[in-house]
């Protein structure tokens, strides 16, 4: 079946180390992380990736008060993506725009806040806010963006644990190829640092990172890694069918040429490298590409003791004979941005098509021998001979795996 080619024409993001693609990229190449300590209810001090974008750039104060943090992240990223795409948004048919936002979870923050609120009133539920339901419905982050942008096409979230950022993009590609929409705003967002439950859950699991220096706490592949740093953030891209993008002379950041999503069906939390391997291979098959044609593999590795090793095993299986394929990781800089992770990590690598620089995995003082795989870019960026395609891994709990392939645009 012949389907339309789909390209990325705009990028909007907020990360713990940057509120635009250029700022974020510069920090990724200069080794600048964005992790800090913060206080969270019941937990006390925790390490987190906190974003400092200004929500009032695109929202009224009342919208910020009534809405959610994830809604604000979505609105900021969507508006920034539209701006960078250069599209004449006002003249567009808003019925034909889709908003597809990947989320790991949504509603925990708002529910915890309300339980805390009514605890001040002896748990009398008449003090429970009427804003609770619109804040906690699973489509909230996309719905708030549709309200803000007056987009009347489909706007909803994709729940896919920490694979969600990739899945927002995958879904947008599918909807564009089906002709359901003509323009898509898609990626992933996270507000998870505002819920103590995520931190407490990871801590109970023995998977919450700690380090005296916050910016050294998230250390995928390092022998002394001890878990995840939870972050907030978002990255939304504008996507269009290639013909539409060319017709309006849009800048093309890359073409989404392949993807795959599968499930481990083995465990609630433990990954399965065999399924990860299958996922990457299936994405390559859809893209009609050989592993050697991929020049950057951005790993999902979250700095848990087992997860990093298993992903490395999976990557070696697929890219065993690929001297020009570099492997990197973004979480050392920004922590684990949950539903935003896949989208933010793809965004951080996209400029490699222009500068051929591969940003490193940082905080690797002593590489875990079990993570020692060829061409792992550690601590310093590497200049690649060429960067024509990037494969972005994002995996999540309940065994969901995703691999997304973006290729440098070529009109062939």
């Amino acid at each position: 079946m012949e389907v339309s080619r789909v390209v990325i024409t705009g990028v909007g993001l907020t990360a713990p180390n940057g509120n635009s693609l250029s700022e974020y990229r510069e920090n990724l190449l200069n080794g600048i992380a964005g992790i800090s300590r913060t206080e969270i209810r019941y937990m006390g001090e925790v390490l987190a990736g906190i974003c400092d974008f200004d929500p009032l750039r695109y929202q009224k104060r009342k919208e910020v008060r009534v809405g959610t943090r994830a809604g604000s992240v979505s609105i900021y990223c969507a508006r920034e993506a539209l701006k960078s795409s250069g599209v004449d948004f006002e003249s567009m048919d808003k019925n034909r725009i889709g908003i597809y936002v990947g989320i790991t979870e949504h509603g925990n923050v708002e529910t915890e806040n309300e339980i805390h609120n009514i605890s001040q009133f002896d748990y009398d539920t008449k003090f429970w806010t009427h804003h609770h339901n619109p804040r906690t419905v699973a489509n909230n982050p996309a719905g708030e963006a549709s309200l803000n942008l007056k987009v009347t096409g489909p706007a909803y979230t994709i729940g896919a644990a920490c694979a969600a950022g990739n899945l927002g993009l995958v879904h947008a590609v599918q909807m564009l190829q089906l002709g359901e929409v003509d323009y898509a705003i898609a990626g992933g967002v996270s507000e998870s640092i505002h819920t103590f439950g995520i931190f407490a859950g990871f801590k109970s699991q023995g998977a919450l990172a700690e380090h005296e220096d916050p910016n050294k706490a998230s250390r995928p592949f390092d022998a002394a890694r001890n878990g995840i740093v939870v972050s907030e953030g978002g990255a939304l891209f504008t996507l269009e069918r290639l013909d539409d993008a060319l017709a309006r002379g849009a800048k093309i950041y890359g073409e989404i040429v392949g993807y795959h999503v599968n499930s481990d069906a083995t465990d609630y939390v433990l990954p399965n490298p065999e399924r990860q391997t299958q996922c990457m291979r299936a994405a390559l098959k859809k893209a009609k590409m050989a592993p050697q044609e991929i020049h950057i593999v951005n790993t999902h590795a979250t700095a848990t003791p087992m997860g990093d090793i298993q992903e490395c095993q999976a990557i070696v299986q697929v890219f065993e004979d690929c001297p020009d394929t570099y492997v990197n990781n973004t979480k050392g800089f920004i922590g684990h941005a949950m539903g935003a992770a896949g989208a933010l990590e793809m965004a951080g690598n996209l400029p490699s098509f222009e500068d051929r620089m591969v940003h490193p995995s940082i905080n690797v003082d002593e590489l875990d021998p079990k993570c020692s795989i060829p061409n792992l870019v550690l601590n310093q960026p590497t200049q690649a001979k060429r960067v024509d395609a990037i494969l972005n891994n994002s995996f999540g709990m309940l065994g969901i795996n995703s691999a997304l392939i973006v290729r440098r645009f070529s009109d062939q």
Partner: protein, 84 residues
Amino acid sequence: MSKDECKQVVLDIIAEIAPDEELSDVKPDVALREQLDLDSMDFLDIVMELRKKHGIEVPEPEYGELVSLDSCAEYLTPKFNALV
């Protein structure tokens, strides 16, 4: 509590729930929704803040008493004074 003080209490609540609004020249005898960008959820916020901050209950059939600053003062001042 005087009626003017009661109006100020209501204005203080509106300032929190509708922080983008200019409240310096709200006409007391004109419906709040005619001069401010307030929706039904905002009115529920006013009811909730009266409950939380001041222990004042406004039963649903009486929400209409909160239509303007003047009507708020007429309706709420006796309730405030009954608390003392």
